[in-house]
């Protein structure tokens, strides 16, 4: 039990995907101008990331490994991810048009969010089991969402600030991200192992 809690703490805080592992930065920078949109993105990513983490684990375990096709891993995973994204898209569209309104535009973006592929690859690299993969994927997504939403709220405040011309826009956003990751250094050593 505690082991799984630790996995979450470690992926959400200590090894936060965005601020420490440098994954999923494009959506992090791109979809954080408004709080609402960032929340939509967070929701979509969380779902897709968890699902694709599991699926890619299955594909790797029961398709690639047996056939000795490890070298096709990347291709296989990206295929899986794209499929999952589309699948999610359809499900959402069918079940709740309202949610679709919110998420619709973000889902396609997720395909090129390297956090998703990153999770899949890391699962293999670190030989996670099934449950571990699921948790890892969820934790990564949670970390991503947390940071994304906080960042969006911060940015909404910063746009009104008297930022020097040269730093307006992406530059100051990156500096902010830097200071955020500076703060997250505080979690280092929280999980020894």
């Amino acid at each position: 039990m505690t082991e799984y809690a630790l996995i979450l703490v470690s992926t959400v805080l200590v090894n936060n995907f965005v601020l420490v592992k440098f994954l999923g930065l494009c959506p992090f920078m791109g979809v954080s101008r408004k709080l609402e949109t960032s929340m939509g993105m967070a929701l979509a990513t969380t779902f897709v990331l968890t699902l694709s983490s599991v699926c890619s684990y299955l594909v790797n375990e029961y398709l690639l490994q047996p056939l000795g096709l490890e070298y096709l891993r990347t291709i296989a995973f990206i295929v899986v991810i794209a499929a999952v994204v589309q699948f999610t898209e359809m499900v959402v569209h069918k079940t709740s048009p309202l949610l679709y309104q919110v998420l619709g535009i973000y889902l396609p973006l997720i395909t090129t969010n390297c956090a998703v592929l990153g999770v899949a690859l890391l699962n293999v690299q670190e030989q996670h089991g099934f449950l571990h993969s699921a948790l890892f994927g969820f934790g990564a997504a949670a970390g991503f969402s947390l940071i994304l939403i906080l960042f969006a709220a911060l940015r909404e405040r910063i746009v009104a600030a008297d930022v020097p011309a040269a730093f307006r826009g992406p530059a100051i956003a990156l500096v902010t991200a830097g200071l955020m990751s500076l703060s997250f250094m505080g979690f280092t050593g929280l999980i020894k192992a």
């Binding site: 405040r157 746009v159 009104a160 008297d162």
Partner: protein
Amino acid sequence: MSTKLWRFPGGLHLPGHKAESTQRPVERARLPGRLILPLHQHIGAEANPVVTVGERVRKGQMIARAEGYVSAPVHASSSGTVIAVGDFPVPHPSGMNAPCIVIETDGLEQWCERRPAPDYTTQDPSHLRNLIREAGIVGLGGAGFPSYIKLNPLGKAVDALILNAAECEPYITCDDMLMRERAAEIIHGIRIMRHALHAARCIIGIEDNKPEAHAALLRALGELHISDIQVTQVPTRYPAGGEKQLIQVLTGKEVPSNGLPIHIGIVCHNVATAAAVYRAVQLGEPLISRYVTITGPGVPKPRNLDVLLGTPMSELLEQCGADPASISHLVMGGPMMGFSVHSSSAPVVKTTNCLLTGRHRPAEPPAMPCIRCGACAEACPAKLLPQQLYWHAHAKEFDKAQQYNLFDCIECGCCAAVCPSHIPLVQYYRYAKGEIWTREREKQKADVARERHEFRLARLAQEKAEREARHAQKKAELAGKTAPRETALH
């Protein structure tokens, strides 16, 4: 008497500065050579002149008719001749000129014929409202909203008629003096209002820094053997006189956001308004004069005057021993909510409760950036977050400001008063509100333009189609004509 009182959030204890202008008794203001009567002294539509230049008018005669539901007529406050109808300086933050009727007084003070209705109890409310409307009575306490509308319960049961005698702003004492000197008139006025509203209760709310006025009211009630009007002292804390605040203090009810007091069965009027109602109904006199406080470091003899509407402010300053030229800046209203008047030749209007004068404009310290200390939020009686409103208004993010409920701001100025960074917050809010309204208007205009443009495009397309059709037809005819001739040639 000790009745249960409630507390409104925020607010400030301000130095009152009221003693200065209450030492001397109220005296009539001298009759000026000319009276300047703006057509727009109230909320709502501008009144419509019914007199022409050169025409002779009597005191109390209607010279401009109310235009539409939310509007009020204007009356000649003394007898004389109309010498101009046109734009003149008026008391307004813009400092612009606005349409006025100018009367040269003849000093005869000849009244037009008055129709008193001594026994109002026999009148039905709608007729009373009509009298009040015809008398041009508007709220004398603040916004100058036509009072007859507020006297119309709109079919709702009115639980309480609240008389606003708080006069919470520093320096202002006109209501105070009115209560000391004309308590009886106020009481009568209140009973008329009450009759019109069928109000169950009737409370006069007065700040506890006016013992004399309080005593005067009680005395008057005693003399008139009236027991069903309750006089309640409320703690002195700005803005206790704010309509919503006073209502909360006296009844514990909150006027819903962008709702009206009437929606919670309450109507709030100023005491001066009540007095005006009495004169209108029982003496048949329209609203042609009011008490005005002339005070501030700029005048040697600060006091209250009973002023004919339309009297130029400069005359009043002179009467209080000040030389208008020496006065560097002149504020109409109090230090918190008043605005500077650009020319002392502007006239006193229905909503002029106070002239605040300064010898030299206080040098405002430079505004520093907001450090989000939250002092403003603690002072805000509307429980807003002024720092956020400012943050967004300053960044021109007006929709965000609106999300933070900009329009619940009553512009009381408490926030600006406490701001350690000396930010003119209220100015930012007024600016933001103005911008939002303009954008609304422009949006509507744009939509119209879009329609007209699309309509035009459609029309052009149609014309083109028709032209082509005609063209084709012509061709066909031509072809029809030519063909036989050719055959004929052969």
